[in-house]
Symmetry: C2
Subunit: 238 residues, 2 copies
């Protein structure tokens, strides 16, 4: 199927990012948009609700939908996005060092959920990320072998998510992320250019497929001066 509302959403995102409607101005009304896209008002509303959730617009009853323009030149870390997508969006020169790619049986609390009957081994991938000549991020990924039967050095150097979604055709659903500040481990000190910093910012993520099965655990360990996490949140009224 075509999924009109998704097409309309992506088209509107493109227009917003091309500044067709500057920040704080109104986009066309739902009725106008339904004429423009030759569809029903309900379909337009589905697209607009997506825009609202992702922080592009604010809907104001009786008035219209205004462009928020707060995500504009920003670090889009909230949400689920791969390192490759991230650096591409921001036009960053980045380099990835694959420090480890192994298949092992790990006894760890965070990893436990990745094991399934007949799949005791998990993939462990350790990658250092270099930006502007400095190694400032250490990504430690663990994948369930049930959903990711094979993995290659080449894939890890390029983009694992691209491989998962386009080759293995896994459908990523949602993630639970936790941000904490920790003391650097010996591994952090060896693999990163920590320059004497006494803390690292860590994003720990559990990533689930669309059928709600856990398939990945990740620790993304950042040098604190280069760490930045941006979030968009709405107040749920009662």
């Amino acid at each position: 199927m075509q999924k009109k509302y998704l097409n309309i959403y992506h088209d509107l995102v493109k227009k917003i990012e091309m500044n067709v409607w500057p920040a704080a101005t109104k986009i066309p009304s739902e009725n106008e948009l339904s004429k423009i896209y030759a569809t029903s008002r309900e379909t337009i509303r589905k697209a607009l609700n997506l825009l609202s959730q992702s922080g592009y617009i604010q809907k104001i009853r009786g008035k219209g939908s205004v462009i928020i323009g707060v995500n504009k030149f920003d670090f889009p870390v909230s949400g689920i996005i791969s390192f490759k997508e991230l650096t591409a969006n921001l036009n960053l020169k980045a380099k990835t060092w694959v420090e480890e790619l192994s298949l092992k049986d790990i006894d760890d609390e965070e990893i436990a959920g990745l094991k399934e009957p007949g799949h005791d081994n998990v993939w462990k991938v350790v990658r250092a990320r270099e930006i502007s000549g400095e190694k400032i991020i250490l990504d430690k990924d663990y994948f369930s072998t049930k959903y990711v039967p094979s993995l290659s050095q080449k894939v890890c150097e390029d983009s694992i998510y691209d491989y998962l979604e386009n080759e293995l055709e896994l459908v990523i659903g949602f993630a639970r992320k936790e941000i904490v500040v920790e003391e650097p481990t010996e591994e952090d000190r060896q693999l990163l250019d920590l320059e004497g910093f006494s803390n690292v910012a860590v994003i720990k993520s559990q990533v689930y497929l669309a059928d709600a099965s856990l398939f990945q655990y990740t620790e993304s360990r950042h040098r604190p001066d280069k760490f930045r996490f941006v979030d968009f949140a709405r107040r749920i009224k009662n």
Copy 2:
């Protein structure tokens, strides 16, 4: 108006948190729910979409909606929530020290958006938060005097958000949050029990009303060992 779908959403949240449906089990189907609540399927779907957005359920096509149960005993920091709501949810014994409450004309980049013609002054509120006998959070709030004409010591000791929403009847819309790690300022060292930590985790928030006008800027400065931020994210497919 009654807003059926919101009532149904809150009722289902309550049931989920009371463990009526354990994690990884299915809730009743949309058709069953529409009979239970004596409403249309579309209204049920609006409630379920809210549950899905807030990370309570995962909808699986053809199968049903399963309880995720990942937010269960968790630190609900993502989203917009007041310190009082937070500590109440977690049953924490907390104490607030109002260190400053003043009205002044501040020339600062982050504050600039709070000023409006005829309202050059902004409220500045500095509060230290004590949990389990340790001062570990320093909240620095700035409010636009256009939307918050008056503010009292008593309100700051209790809950500013409660005052804003229930007394002033302001409707909070959305917020842009940024998490970074910084070196402690002299103020941090004086007002918090930093115990030699050489970093603080900082959440910088710009909070907007439902009509998209900026009315608050906040810096919430946390001792790194006590800092934790939990986020729920969905992958937006293309």
